[in-house]
Symmetry: C2
Subunit: 333 residues, 2 copies
């Protein structure tokens, strides 16, 4: 076996699928004794790899899936990673998690590490729009929540929740409950995900015959409880009037609710609030709030299965996949 031999070539020689070779190499069941012996003999003939690192070198890939994540302390991302990882463990594929801490510098460094580690595939969560993952060359990549500039490149996918629909149903919920001046709290950089949610918000207003008011678009310093608190307090002090606020993450919603309370505004009687994500803060905070649920289990399992399919070259799914979202009604609408 030399550096350039691929899993696919071994599979061809053994008259089995690449997935089967992978399972045999990982002693992962679901093949006959006969198949196992044939596959192992062919691997043996090419020179058996004594450990994963050596195998990585010989097969020109280490047997690892890399995950890039902007903030590991965000429960939404942590739970998503947990689902992906549990599923990949079934395939006996370890996961190396790289946390960029929302720094472009660190994100570039992580891409370099992933290349150096020669990972088999990458799940690239919410990457920076200024950074292209092209440097990953021909490694299969699934972008989550952040659309790459061009699609489809071979071995590239893009998946996300239906963020536009999420923005629409969040806003629609408040319109149905009588709101007419609905603010929105988004982030400052106009990322694809947030722009989609904003588009859904504008669509719902438009449908209700309400013109979107630019003074009701709030852009806090950071996506954090504290920044949301500050901006809502500031807007109220400056006399900005609104009877609803769609917060584009649950952390923003919890900060907004606390600020409304501090300013003596009754929620939901005077101001209604909807968040996004359905993380635990949405039901454990001061006042459990209405939010948009993303289907973490479906997304995570899809990601794990799809990256395995892309690695084993058995994937037949399209390059883009969008997951439905769901309104969870609680005490703020």
């Amino acid at each position: 076996m030399n550096q350039t031999v691929s899993l696919k070539e071994i599979a061809e020689k053994a008259h089995v699928s690449p997935a089967t070779v992978s399972r045999v190499m990982n002693k992962n069941g679901r093949y006959s004794k006969e198949t196992e012996e044939r596959v192992l003999r062919i691997i043996e003939e090419c020179g058996y790899a004594p450990n994963q690192l050596a195998r990585g070198l010989r097969m020109s890939r280490s047997h690892i899936v890399g995950i890039i994540v902007p903030d590991i302390t965000n429960e939404f991302f942590a739970k998503l990673i947990q689902v992906i990882q549990n599923r990949l463990f079934d395939f006996d594929y370890p996961v190396a998690i790289y946390n960029t801490n929302e720094s472009k510098f660190t994100e570039k460094k992580c891409l370099r590490y992933l290349r150096a580690q020669n990972v088999s595939g990458v799940i690239y969560i919410n990457g920076n729009e200024d950074i292209e993952g092209d440097s990953l060359d021909d490694i299969p990549v699934i972008y989550v929540d952040r659309k790459p500039a061009e699609l489809p490149k071979s071995k590239t996918k893009y998946i996300s929740s239906d963020n536009r629909r999420g923005g629409y149903i969040a806003t629609r919920e408040m319109l149905d409950k009588g709101c007419r001046r609905i603010a929105v709290m988004t982030e400052r950089f106009g990322t694809y995900v947030m722009t989609e949610r904003l588009t859904g918000y504008a669509e719902a207003l438009n449908e209700a015959g309400i013109e979107a008011d630019p003074s009701l678009i709030f852009k806090p310093e950071l996506i954090s409880y504290e920044s949301a608190f500050s901006i809502v307090e500031e807007k109220i002090k400056n006399g900005v009037e609104f009877d609803g606020i769609f917060c584009q993450t649950d952390w923003l919603a919890s900060g907004a609710i606390a600020a409304l309370k501090r300013c003596g505004k009754k929620v939901p009687n005077e101001v209604k609030v909807v968040g996004f994500d359905n993380i635990s803060i949405s039901y454990l905070c001061y006042q459990p709030f209405t939010t948009i649920e993303q289907d973490i289990a479906s997304i995570g399992n899809y990601l794990a299965n799809a990256i395995m399919g892309m690695i084993d070259d058995t994937d037949r799914d399209g390059p883009v996949r969008v997951f439905p979202v769901n309104l969870i009604r609680r005490q703020t609408t």
Copy 2:
């Protein structure tokens, strides 16, 4: 350069420290042009490693620190990892995070992956007491929160917060505020950390001349909001009387507070509550609560520096290190 040559040997040949060789290999600054040329020449003479994976093989270690963590969705662990990772990025050492999801089976699998990946060092957070990390052979390991059976083995450390002191000051806070029947919520498996916190609790009671009442030791099914809620509700319904409760994690405390409210018990007037960890739920939940803060920044930075020292063979610190804890007083005591 053959498989057995070490960083140390290269350093000796180049008349520099192993840390300098590491920095040169990673183009990490803090060395002269002259040193860089000398080190690179010696590496070259031994056969230059074209990428990290190949370098890992040749140096018999991949250039990665592995972290084993029981639950990545626990904010305390996520924040600790964030600190460790940021610091290790300064050394240009990527981190591969393995989440065991509190499963013994998965934990064993993670150990296998770490060996296969040939990591340079391991930070082993809150491992299962039934599993020994010995299978990591001579890889430097720092155990966090879970004391290994024997210490010191060479290249092994153990660090934790002063959990005993934490249990003591949590209980002392409630005694000082007039509590006389203080319950404690711990976990069922008697891990080292929880036992230490329990010992601190008993010490404070003892000092106040109060005998610990076994019926006031609550052991929920899981360390979760829901389990804490259930057991507190059940104890109250069964007529168990208490005027304080020391919850050994913040998630347990938030569940306990919600159950007390549901049962019509006033907090802190009728029952006082103290948690442990100071994660964001402790100040963002229904009623911000008193808790014991662990010093995540100091612990994380120490772990990163210590594992680098152990890898580069420059560590001169002892095998055990204990970090002080701190009472954060809020609205439940």
